[in-house]
Amino acid sequence: MALEDPRATSPPDEVPTPHRDTDPARLVGDERLPCGRLVSHVWEQARAGSHRPDPHTADCTYCRQATEGLTVLDATTRTLRAQRPSARTVADRVVSAVRAEARLGRMLPLDDPTQELRIAEATVAKALRRAADRVPGVRAASCRLTPGEAGTHVTITMTLAVTLDQPLPGRATQVRRAVADASAREIGLAVSGIDLHIESELEPLTSVGPTSRNGTGP
C-alpha cells in the first residue's frame, strides 16, 4: 500500500512515463515549467530520488524550485497521518445513543392462546440471527418476519453468509433447526415456514465458530 511506501504520498498510478504526460485526466491543473518539464513529473522524479538520476533536474533551477518543500511535506504528512485522537469516547457515546433510539419495526403476534401478546420484529430478528450465528461457519445477514393471514403464525426469511467448507444442505438443516428451536423456546413464536437464502461466502480466515453468548460467560 502506498502509505507504507517510503516514497510516501505518491500514488502508485502516478509513476511518470513520457506517454502519460499527455493524459489529460492525470493531474488536472498540472503546469509545464519554462524548462519544458511538467510539475507533476518533477515531483515524481524527486520522490524516486537516486533510483532515477536525471542530469537535467540536477542543474535546472526551475525543477529545483518546483520541488522545494516536497521532502518536508512528505515527511510531515507521515507524522500528521499518525496523529489520531482516540475514538473510544465518541464510539461509546454513539452506541448509547443508538440503543436509546431503537428501531423496533412492527409488532408480531406470539403463540399465545389469548392472542394478546405481541413482540417487536427487531427483537425477534435479533434473537433468530443469534441462533443462526451459533451454527459453526454461519453468520446471518437479513432476517425478515411476515405474519400469516390467520394471525398467529409468521414466516421467517433469512439470508446467510456461510463458509464453503461443508455441504450446504447439511448446513441449512442445522440453521433451520437452530432457528426453529429459538423461535419456540426462546421467544414463543409460531412459525409457518423458514426460507433460507445463502447469499455470500463467509471467509473462513479466522475460526468462525459459534458465538458464545448464552450462559458460558462469567
Partner: protein, 212 residues
C-alpha cells in the same frame, strides 16, 4: 491484514491499537468482529443495534481522524462523527448499498465537516492528541521538537486551503483513498479531485518550504 483497514495505517508502528471492530468479550456483538461490513449493514438496517455497534467501533477511528484533520480540534470532530453515525443509523433502512459502508460514512462525515460554519479560523488543539513524536527523528529531542512544530505548521496550512481541496488532500494523503472513492465521497468527478489535489499539494509545498 483486514481489507477494511487498508490504507489507514501509519508508518513505523506509531499507531494506536488497530480497530478490529470486535466488541469487548461478553458484550452484545461479540462474535461479529470478523464479519464483513455488508452483512453488518444488512442486520443494522433491520434495527440490529449490536451489528451497528460493531460498525461504529470498526470505523470511528478513521472517521474521527478525518474530522479532526478537517476541523482542527477534537470536540468539533467528535460532534461531527457522532452526528454522522446517528444520521446513518436513521437512514440505514434506505441505504441501498450502492457504495461501501466506509465510503458512505466518509461522505456523511465530510459533508458535516464542510457544513460546520465557523466564524473564526479553526482553533488548533494539536496538544489534545497523543503525540507520536517519540517515534520521529531517531530520538533526538531537538529534531523531534522541530518535527512537532513542522506538523503543527502543516495542520495550520491545511486550514488555509479551500475546504474542498482540504477534503481531497486529507482523503488522499492521510487516508490513502483511491481517486475514484474520493470522487464518490466529495460528490465530484475524478478530474475535479485530481485538480484539487494538485493545487492543494502546490500550496502546502509552498507553505512548508521554509521547514527543512
Amino acid at each position: 491484514m483486514d481489507v477494511e483497514h487498508e490504507g489507514f495505517s501509519s508508518p513505523r508502528g506509531a499507531e494506536p491499537p488497530p480497530f478490529t471492530g470486535a466488541a469487548r468479550p461478553g458484550e452484545p456483538g461479540a462474535g461479529l468482529g470478523d464479519v464483513a461490513d455488508r452483512i453488518l449493514v444488512a442486520r443494522a438496517a433491520e434495527g440490529d443495534d449490536d451489528a451497528f455497534a460493531v460498525l461504529v467501533h470498526r470505523h470511528s477511528g478513521r472517521l474521527l481522524a478525518l474530522a479532526f484533520h478537517m476541523l482542527g480540534n477534537v470536540p468539533d470532530a467528535e460532534e461531527a462523527v457522532q452526528d454522522a453515525f446517528l444520521s446513518a443509523w436513521r437512514r440505514l433502512p434506505q441505504f441501498r448499498g450502492d457504495a461501501a459502508f466506509r465510503t458512505w460514512m466518509y461522505r456523511i462525515v465530510t459533508n458535516r465537516c464542510l457544513n460546520v460554519r465557523r466564524a473564526q479560523t479553526p482553533s488548533l488543539a494539536l496538544d489534545a492528541v497523543a503525540e507520536p513524536a517519540a517515534h520521529d527523528a531517531g530520538g533526538e529531542p531537538a529534531r523531534a521538537a522541530e518535527s512537532t512544530a513542522a506538523t503543527a505548521a502543516l495542520a495550520q496550512a491545511l486550514t488555509h486551503l479551500r475546504p474542498g481541496q482540504r477534503a481531497c488532500w486529507i482523503l488522499r494523503e492521510l487516508h490513502g483513498l483511491p481517486y475514484g472513492e474520493i470522487a464518490q465521497v466529495v460528490g465530484e468527478s475524478e478530474q475535479t479531485v485530481r485538480g484539487r489535489l494538485f493545487r492543494a499539494r502546490r500550496t502546502l509545498m509552498k507553505e512548508m518550504a521554509s521547514w527543512r
